[in-house]
């Protein structure tokens, strides 16, 4: 032992008078730094349970557990954290689509039961729930997914305002993959889509550049992807989780991208429908609209012999005769429909049930009948002057434009209606005016104010770009007629549509008046159904609601067991509901023919 070893311990005495470097008082709080990553907090009202936090967690620390019943746009699940696994990296916070998940700066918590360290922030109340400090995703700076959608190229207004050429150009491969890359695959959208399409799956196929797989996913639930990829009401986009922080995914355009990439002659190989085994059962379908075509597609794939009866000379229903060509070109309609017909579906054009063949006869000749006859009848406002011969229904006019019939296009036109059909006729006639007179002179109005107009926002914007005047918030009072010809529409300001009980009861300022000149008036305030092909005797066996709507079960079976109805008559009106109805009715018809109990059916 040397002297140093003896003296060393005493060197510590030289520090005896210094301030200690340790904490003086362990009983007082020692808060984490302002941006410390401590225990989680979750604003459970803002959270939609998309599970992106769970997906990104490299440590499998997060589970999604039930919090409430799911609704459209909210899975009802909330993240539960296992603090035995959490490494406090905060990736879950940074990826959160709603910014609901944050970290407090609280890092000390004592519990004796290890299971207490698994809890659901925001649901299981904790002392730090109100703690404002801690880690939040910094605004801007960086994002884990693109918040801006890849812009879709449109024809410029001056290029499109005098033609019916398709105005939306479609994504290139590069654009589609870039847009698909923004998807977090949460699947929140699937429940909101009436057809419950496998949206994350087909977007993933785009990302993987596997278009064939994408097409297969589309056809699992939707046999009209070219059409839906253009004109679907895309309710899915309204609930897209990315939409909470940025632009929702362009789900509709991505669907169109897949369908556009595959040539018609490849469909059967990709969808494995070159050979379908037939059974000996026959199904009749009334109307070649979205629901009828969809039912036909799924039934023929099940092996049924399917015959469609169509009153017009071409198939498509409202998709062909209601939606203008600049939004939905005929070749896109034909591509979808021709594939369905190529599977062996027989179609009899220019055949009207009730006139050419009775419904009862169909019942005798076929094992089951599906009807999707839609809403084709125009509705009138009934205001004075509306019975004039120069006052038309939009549905008739749109059909005539498609059929190429000669129609009156006046120099000045007023359209009554603020829905998408009203925008369709307004924009179609504006184009025709431009060709005929060199400029558009058309005004459309609705009872609803601009912010609650039923038409899609883009329709209103684009109509204006094309020279139409859209002036919402007015109630039509009368059509001025002079020498048998309209001279214009009298309107008063409409302030509200519904009373306190939610009943339709428009309130107007009768002293705020306007007169809009127009020698032609188009009414576009909704459509009605034509059930004249169903005899009164037949109807007695069907069920109707007090308001006269046909009632069906979950599989669209009416009171007459072999008679199924779907599409706009039952739900909607829009194409995607028709597709959903047609698909489910096909399953219902299969169950009916096989004698499977519907309630047990899946």
């Amino acid at each position: 032992m040397n002297i140093k070893d003896v003296l060393s311990p005493f060197t510590a005495w030289k520090r005896v008078a210094r301030d200690p470097v340790t904490v003086k008082d362990p009983f007082n709080d020692r808060p984490g730094a302002d941006r410390y990553r401590g225990f989680h907090k979750n604003d459970v009202e803002a959270c939609i349970g998309c599970g992106t936090c769970e997906d990104i967690c490299e440590n499998e620390a997060i589970d999604l557990v039930p919090f409430k019943d799911p609704i459209s746009g909210d899975s009802g699940l909330r993240p539960s954290i296992d603090y035995g696994r959490c490494c406090w990296c905060a990736l879950c916070v940074d990826v959160c689509t709603t910014n609901s998940l944050t970290l407090s700066n609280e890092y000390t918590w004592v519990a004796t039961d290890p299971d207490e360290f698994i809890f659901t922030p925001g649901v299981d109340k904790k002392d730090w729930d109100e703690n404002e400090k801690g880690w939040k995703k910094p605004e801007g700076n960086y994002e884990f997914y693109g918040l801006k959608r890849v812009e879709m190229e449109h024809l410029h207004p001056e290029e499109r305002s005098d033609s019916f050429i398709e105005m939306v150009k479609g994504y290139s491969k590069e654009q589609a993959q870039k847009e698909a890359d923004r998807c977090v695959e949460c699947g929140i959208c699937t429940a909101t889509c009436p057809a419950h399409m496998g949206i994350p799956e087909y977007i993933k196929a785009i990302r993987n550049d596997d278009i064939e797989e994408g097409l297969r996913v589309l056809y699992e639930t939707n046999p009209l992807p070219e059409i839906c990829g253009r004109i679907c009401t895309h309710k899915c986009e309204s609930v897209c989780s990315i939409g909470h922080k940025g632009d929702p995914l362009s789900i509709r355009w991505l669907k169109r991208y897949i369908a556009d990439q595959v040539p018609s002659d490849k469909y059967k190989d990709i969808l494995d429908t070159n050979e379908i085994e037939n059974n000996d059962k026959k199904i009749a379908i009334i109307g070649a609209g979205p629901s009828g075509l969809t039912a036909a597609h799924y039934l023929v794939k099940m092996g049924y012999s399917v015959t469609i009866f169509e009153q017009f000379e071409a198939a498509g229903g409202m998709m062909r005769y209601g939606i203008p060509e600049y939004r939905l070109p005929y070749e896109s309609i034909d591509k979808d429909i021709n594939y369905i017909l190529s599977l062996g579906v027989d179609i009899k054009y220019n055949t009207r049930i009730g006139a050419d063949i009775t419904l009862d006869q169909l019942g005798k000749d076929f094992d089951a009948v599906f009807s999707g006859t839609g809403l084709h009848l125009g509705r009138s406002t009934g205001i004075p002057g509306s019975d004039n011969e120069h006052v038309y229904y939009s549905t008739d006019y749109l059909r005539k434009i498609t059929a190429g019939e000669e129609i009156e296009v006046a120099e000045s036109i007023v359209v009554i209606g603020g829905g998408n059909v009203a925008m369709d006729i307004t924009r179609s006639l504006a184009r025709m005016q431009k060709v005929k007179y060199g400029k558009a002179n058309i005004i459309a109005t609705s009872l609803e104010k601009e912010d609650v107009m039923p038409a899609d926002r883009e329709e209103v914007v684009e109509a204006r770009e094309e020279g139409a005047i859209i002036n919402p918030g007015w109630a039509p009072q009368s059509i001025e007629i002079k020498d048998g010809v309209p001279t214009g529409l009298h309107v008063v300001e409409c302030n509200s549509l519904f009373d306190e009980t939610g009943r339709f009861n428009p309130q107007c300022s009768m002293d705020v008046k306007e007169f809009w000149p127009g020698v032609q008036i188009i009414e576009s305030i909704g459509q009605g159904m034509d059930l004249s092909y169903i005899s009164e005797e037949f109807k007695e066996n069907m069920a109707f609601s007090p308001r006269g709507r046909v009632e069906t079960n979950d599989y669209f079976q009416t009171g007459v067991k072999w008679f199924f109805m779907g599409g706009d008559i039952i739900e909607g009106p829009d194409v995607i509901h028709g597709i959903a109805n047609g698909h489910k009715a096909a399953i219902g018809i299969d169950n009916f023919i096989q004698g499977i109990d519907f309630k047990a059916a899946k």
């Binding site: 599970g51 490299e58 589970d63 999604l64 799911p70 899975s75 949460c186």
Partner: protein, 175 residues
């Protein structure tokens, strides 16, 4: 620091000089000259403090990037010396003789990235991953999520739900 960089560039095979902040610069040096440069900085340019030694896995480029971050306690500047080493032959000359704590960093890098520093004391001892029997976990091709799933599950009392499947079961079970 510009003079220092000029001096370094005249003596060593360097590239990619970045002045990140007024007091913080990075420079990349050829592997065989790296320890010489670090030694020169320590002994002749007053960068006597070792702030840290760390690594980045540039998987796509097939290299690991080592960064020797040194500090000058007299003027409070820092310089990061970067070295690219082959990912398939992840071996680097040891510099434990320059700083006593270097051996600890080298042990850590061997365990977490699988980068060897032959001759470094206790280099083969476990660092923090006692009993680890898998790919070094900081390598980017190590699938942390898969490892966590396989190693820690099922844990009693934990159960998760897929949003789309859960919504289907509750909202439209018959479809």
């Amino acid at each position: 620091m510009k003079d220092l960089i000029k001096d370094i560039e005249s003596r060593f095979k360097t590239s990619d000089y970045i002045q990140k902040l007024d007091h913080l610069a990075f420079i990349t040096v050829e592997k065989e000259q790296a320890i010489s440069l670090v030694t020169y900085l320590r002994d002749y340019r007053k960068y006597a403090g070792l702030t840290l030694l760390t690594a980045v896995d540039w998987l796509e480029d097939g290299v690991f990037q080592l960064t020797y971050l040194l500090n000058n306690p007299t003027d409070y500047t820092e310089i990061g010396v970067r070295v690219m080493i082959d990912r398939d032959n992840a071996t680097m000359e040891s510099s434990h003789h320059l700083w006593e704590n270097m051996m600890t960093y080298q042990r850590e890098l061997r365990e977490m990235f699988g980068i060897d520093f032959p001759g470094s004391p206790r280099i083969e001892e476990d660092f923090i991953l006692e009993g680890w029997d898998n790919m070094p976990p900081y390598r980017r091709d190590f699938d942390t999520k898969k490892y966590a799933e396989e190693t820690y599950f099922p844990r009693p009392g934990r159960e998760s739900n897929d949003p789309a499947t859960y919504m289907k079961s509750k909202m439209y079970p018959n479809d």
